[in-house]
Structure formats: structure tokens, C-alpha cells
């Protein structure tokens, strides 16, 4: 199936990749793209230092859902608070809530328990697309998660299964199983890998693609190769240092794109560096570029 159609049909998209490759701007652009195609989109940002609002030129979320443009919303998520919310919800007596939240077991458990925070973020996304959102956005069609750059994105995806494995009963165990099943459903959940065409990011992307296949038996919906130097026109090539540098950097891009192509033959969008300051104009230009590239891939 056409990849744009596939992306349109998903309820959760995780955007992942190495630090510094432009995940946030691609997340915003994907959001813009799907919103323009009629989907109601909610962007989740987990990085403690918010920057999606700058790209979309709106106020910072501060934990609230913000409407950035028609059908496009964003929200900054603090996983710890999601877990505390869960305690409040399950334990209705206030005195007990405070006891639990203040107890070292809870604090330590939520900090140390592997996979819990990630699962809580997925759980929130699932609740949103199932129509349990607040009045400003009752039910987004799709949530796009700008996954943190720490380690490999695959540890995020593995988290709910991990929780389901160790917590076999109770609401958390149940929640983890539901989320695991959700993430296993290719018609509802997809991964988009962002990379630059440089050695380290491509290396990490190849590892990620292999891990997705090996551990989950699936592949990304698309790979976005970001921040490429444009091809150099031989006729215009002058021999000044700047052109030489451009030629060399472009050559690295070409080599690394070839390397990527040996392991990834699925949908690929090549996004060039653009002479536009970060903001809605850049997001729009990248969105159009991704759309055009994915349509032809």
C-alpha cells in the first residue's frame, strides 16, 4: 500500500533516531503533513527541554494540550506525572494517594522499574486515540511521539512487553498487555526513523532497523534522510574552498545513502538542508518535501 495512505491510517507513530538528526522538526513536519491531509494530530514531546512549540510558533505546552494550527495539537509529557496520575485514578482516597506518592517504594519503583515510564507514555497515547482526552481534544486521530534520543529507540518499543513480562497482574500488568498488543498491530502503530546521511546516524539507523525486524518482526513505515547537502551541478562547479567543502560533504551523503540503501529498500524521503530559519515556514517546506518524496517512493 502507498506509504502516505498507511501513515494516514495509523493511530500512533513513533519518530525515532540519533540525537541531533532533526527528529523534532521531522515530527512537526509529519504532523503538519497529516493535518493537511485531514487527520486530527496530537504531537507528544517527552524531552524535558521543549522545542516543538518554537517550530510551530505557539506558546510552550507546559503539560497542557496546545492547538498550534488547524487539526494540529501538541503536548509536553512528563512520564513521572503520568504514573502519579495513574495512582490517583486507581486509588480514590486522597490520604492514601498522598501516602503512596510519598512512599519510597513508589518513588523508587517508578524511577527504577524498567519500562514503566515509556509504557505510561504509550498508555496515554492509547487513551487519547480511544477518545478519553480532555475537552480541548477529545479524540485525536493520530498521536505522533517525538521519542527521546537516549539510547536506541527500540528500548522504547520494547518497554510495554517488558512490563507485561514482569508485572503479570493488576491494572499495570493489564495496561502493559493492552499496549503491547496495540504496538503489535501494524494497522494502528508505526515507526518512522530519522537519520542524517552521515556515518554514525546511519550506523544507528541500520541497527535500529535490524532490531525492529529481529525483535518485533516489523519494519519502519519510512526512513527520513534529513539535512542533506544538495547534489552539485558539475557545470557550475567552481574550484573555491566553499564549493570543495560542499562537494566533499555531498560525497559523504551519497556514500551513506548508498549504505542505507543496502539494508533499507522501503519508503525513503530525502530532505535537503534548507535555507530557512526554524519555524512554521521550515516545517511546512519539509512537510511538502516529505510528502512529495514518499508519494514517489
Amino acid at each position: 500500500m502507498d506509504v502516505l495512505r498507511r501513515l494516514e491510517g495509523l493511530e500512533l507513530i513513533v519518530v525515532t533516531g540519533k540525537g541531533g538528526v532533526g527528529k523534532s522538526v521531522v515530527t512537526a513536519s509529519l504532523g503538519r503533513l497529516l493535518a493537511a491531509r485531514g487527520r486530527k494530530v496530537l504531537l507528544f514531546e517527552v524531552d524535558p527541554r521543549e522545542n516543538l512549540h518554537q517550530l510551530l510558533d505557539t506558546q510552550p505546552s507546559g503539560g497542557e494540550i496546545i492547538n498550534a494550527s488547524p487539526r494540529l495539537y501538541l503536548q509536553h509529557i512528563e512520564p513521572r506525572e503520568l504514573i502519579d496520575d495513574l495512582v490517583r485514578e486507581k486509588l480514590k482516597v486522597n490520604l492514601l494517594v498522598n501516602r503512596v506518592l510519598a512512599s519510597p517504594v513508589h518513588r523508587h519503583f517508578t524511577e527504577g522499574a524498567p519500562g514503566l515510564k515509556e509504557s505510561a507514555v504509550f498508555g496515554r497515547a492509547l487513551r487519547m486515540v480511544e477518545g478519553h482526552g480532555p475537552s480541548i481534544l477529545r479524540r485525536p486521530d493520530v498521536v505522533i511521539l517525538d521519542a527521546p534520543a537516549t539510547g536506541h529507540g527500540v528500548s522504547w518499543l520494547a518497554a510495554p512487553q517488558l512490563v507485561a513480562d514482569v508485572v503479570r497482574s493488576g491494572p499495570i500488568g493489564h495496561m502493559a498487555e493492552v499496549i503491547s498488543a496495540f504496538l503489535g498491530d501494524r494497522s494502528r502503530f508505526g515507526v518512522v526513523v530519522v537519520t542524517t546521511a552521515e556515518e554514525m546516524p546511519v550506523e544507528e539507523s541500520l541497527e535500529l532497523i535490524a532490531a525492529l525486524d529481529g525483535r518485533f518482526g516489523r519494519e519502519p513505515e519510512a526512513v527520513i534522510a534529513n539535512a542533506l547537502y544538495p547534489a552539485i551541478d558539475a557545470a557550475e562547479a567552481e574550484d573555491d574552498p566553499a564549493t570543495a567543502l560542499w562537494r566533499d560533504r555531498r560525497a559523504i551523503n551519497v556514500t551513506q545513502l548508498e549504505r542505507l540503501a543496502t539494508a533499507w529498500t522501503g519508503p525513503l524521503a530525502e530532505v535537503p538542508l534548507m535555507a530557512i530559519d526554524p519555524g512554521p515556514a521550515l516545517v511546512g517546506a519539509i512537510a511538502r518535501r516529505i510528502e512529495a518524496q514518499l508519494r514517489s517512493s
Binding site: 540525537g19 541531533g20 501516602r99 514482569v166 493488576g170 557550475e236 566553499a242 559523504i252 538542508l273 534548507m274
Partner: protein, 348 residues
């Protein structure tokens, strides 16, 4: 505590690892016995340093034709965790119990602070042996390098608060039954019932066992972590902050710089890496296929960022500008040259 220590910090993807290796190669070439501790080197940098040849040994001598010795050490969470278990488990039974704990696999890779913890441990060892004249420490690929620096302190305060003891140790009696909640009376039983309902007591017991197994490790850790913290704030340690180019990075860089200073660390140079060259007679009209226009735009953007940073920093910290190179350095020679370029700029 004699080895002058350089700690390279900054956001993910800015080139910390390469610059750390470059500084180290330059130091060795200047005659200092140098160790570079690195987290996530590229394949080619691994090749250049030879660090993936022998994953079993902690430090590897890098063959380099230089008056000083160059050593490299690749930090890996799982391997260090295994080493810690070997070292601190009181006996074979305990060792087996930890290694077969179903949390071990997951926790050794993902437990918050593990990487930081082991970097501290290694720093402590390295510093106390006094084998090197220079130690260059790369920091993990994360946007929160400050978390990394704060980790030993957080662990210390966690341990000193007794939270670990309160939270895990006395809650289970010799038979593995959960007991401490009883002391809280009805409320305690309710909280206990809540945890049981939420995650199951079996899980809490497993976690408790896991953490208990590491008690001997915690005992010495407070002392060592405090030593390391003292060292990090001493005159022997200097931080090098690496930033990406461009105006939008300026706020990020200043944030890091302020946080480091506030925390009492000695911030040395700020390095703006991969700065595009200025292009004269830069054309204004730019489209996607217009590479020269783009390059001129990138050059302007990067230099405006540098100028802004220079303005805001004043004389507080030296600013080093590293131009974007045709390629990343891939051998010791070009690494050492990059390191020398940094040093020269600092002098001038």
C-alpha cells in the same frame, strides 16, 4: 588525584566523542601519558583507537608514534555491571542469584545512573592509580549531560537518606514476606494492598532482592562518589562544552554553561563545532537546488551564532570555533591535528 581531567560535555550529535579523542591524541603527541574514556565511538574512530579489539580489558594502549602514551577505554554499561557483580558479590551463590535475577538483564542496561555510576568508579580508579598525566572523559550521548554529572550525588543522597534501607530492606522478613507495612497500621495495609493490586508483591520482592544483592557495592560507593565529586570540582578538572553551530543552538549552549557554573564546575572553553565557512559575495536568492546559496546561508547562520555567543559570553569563557571539515578525522594523525587546532586557538 593528580591527573588533570578534561570532561567533554554537550548535546547529542555535536561531535563530543571525536573531539575528546582529538584532545587526547594531541596530548599524547605533546608527551603526556593520556587516557581517553569514551562511550559511543563511530566504527572508524573505534578503528583509529583500536578499542574494539579486546573488549575484555578496561584500557587499551593505542599504538601511536608519539612521545606520550595514548590509552583508550570504551565504557559499556552491561560489561561494567558484570564486572561490578564479579567484584562485589560476597560469594558464588550470591553472584548466581544476581545474574539469574530476572531484572538483571533489563536493569543492567536501563537502570538510571548505571552508566554514570560506572564512569565515576572508573574515574576514581584511574585517578587513584595516578598512571596518566591527562584523562579525557567523553560523556554519554544524551541531551542531559548534566544528569550525568549529578548522578553520583543523586545516588549518594539517595543512599544517605536511607530510602533504600527504608524502601527495600526491612520490608521483607527472612521468609520473603512483606512486613513493614504492618507498622503503619490500617493505612499501611491499604498501601500494601494497593501495591499488591497494582504490580503484585512478587515483583517488589524481586526488585528488593536485586537491590539487596548490591548492598556491599553501595557501602563503598558513597565514599568513592564523594571523592569523585570533590575531584570534579577541583582545579584538576576542566569542562569543555561542545555546541553545534547556528543561532538556534545559542540558547542551548548558554543553558549548559550556566548550569555547569551554578553546579560549581569549572567551565573551560566552549567549542562551536562544524561551523560552515563564510562565503564572500553571498547570493541572496536561494532555492532547494541552489547549493551555493545554501552554503552561503549556512555560513551566515553559523557565524551569526558564533558572534551572538561571543557577545553573550564576553570574557567569561574562551570560545573556540572548529570549522566544518570535508570529513570526520579517521586516523590518529588527523585527530591529533584537530586537537592541536583547538589548543592553538585557546592560546591565541
Amino acid at each position: 588525584m593528580s591527573a588533570p581531567l578534561t570532561i567533554v560535555v554537550g548535546s547529542g550529535g555535536v561531535g563530543k566523542t571525536t573531539l575528546a579523542a582529538a584532545i587526547a591524541a594531541d596530548e599524547a603527541r605533546r608527551g603526556n601519558d593520556t587516557l581517553v574514556m569514551t562511550f559511543d565511538p563511530s566504527l572508524r574512530l573505534k578503528d583509529a583507537l583500536g578499542v574494539d579489539v579486546d573488549p575484555e580489558s578496561n584500557e587499551i594502549r593505542v599504538p601511536m608514534d608519539a612521545p606520550g602514551e595514548l590509552w583508550a577505554s570504551l565504557l559499556d554499561a552491561r560489561r561494567t555491571f558484570d564486572t561490578l557483580v564479579d567484584r562485589y558479590a560476597p560469594d558464588d551463590t550470591a553472584r548466581q542469584r544476581i545474574l539469574t535475577n530476572r531484572f538483571y538483564d533489563h536493569l543492567s542496561g536501563s537502570l538510571a545512573g548505571v552508566l554514570e555510576y560506572m564512569a565515576s568508579e572508573r574515574l576514581f580508579e584511574v585517578a587513584s592509580f595516578g598512571k596518566y598525566q591527562r584523562v579525557i572523559l567523553d560523556t554519554p550521548p544524551t541531551r542531559q549531560a548534566l544528569d550525568f554529572l549529578g548522578a553520583p550525588e543523586r545516588i549518594v543522597s539517595f543512599l544517605e537518606s536511607g530510602a533504600l534501607r527504608i524502601a527495600l530492606k526491612p520490608w521483607f522478613d527472612a521468609n520473603g514476606n512483606f512486613k513493614a507495612m504492618a507498622r503503619l497500621g490500617v493505612l499501611g495495609r491499604n498501601v500494601e494492598a494497593f501495591f499488591d493490586r497494582m504490580v503484585g508483591m512478587e515483583l517488589l520482592r524481586d526488585m528488593a532482592e536485586f537491590f539487596q544483592a548490591f548492598t556491599p557495592l553501595y557501602d563503598g560507593f558513597v565514599e568513592r562518589a564523594l571523592e569523585v565529586q570533590k575531584m570534579l570540582r577541583s582545579d584538576a578538572t576542566s569542562f569543555t562544552l561542545v555546541s553545534g553551530p547556528g543561532e538556534q543552538r545559542v540558547a542551548d549552549t548558554l543553558f549548559f554553561a550556566r548550569k555547569l557554573s551554578e553546579a560549581g564546575y569549572r567551565l573551560g572553553p566552549i567549542v562551536v563545532n562544524r561551523v560552515h565557512p563564510k562565503v564572500d559575495a553571498a547570493p541572496e536568492v536561494v532555492n532547494l537546488a541552489d547549493g551555493r546559496g545554501l552554503l552561503a546561508w549556512l555560513g551566515r547562520r553559523d557565524h551569526q551564532g558564533v558572534a551572538q555567543l561571543r557577545d553573550l559570553l564576553g570574557d567569561s569563557h574562551p570560545l573556540v570555533v572548529v570549522p566544518l571539515r570535508p570529513d570526520e578525522p579517521t586516523n590518529l594523525e588527523s585527530l591529533a591535528e584537530l586537537g592541536a587546532l583547538l589548543r592553538e586557538q585557546l592560546k591565541g
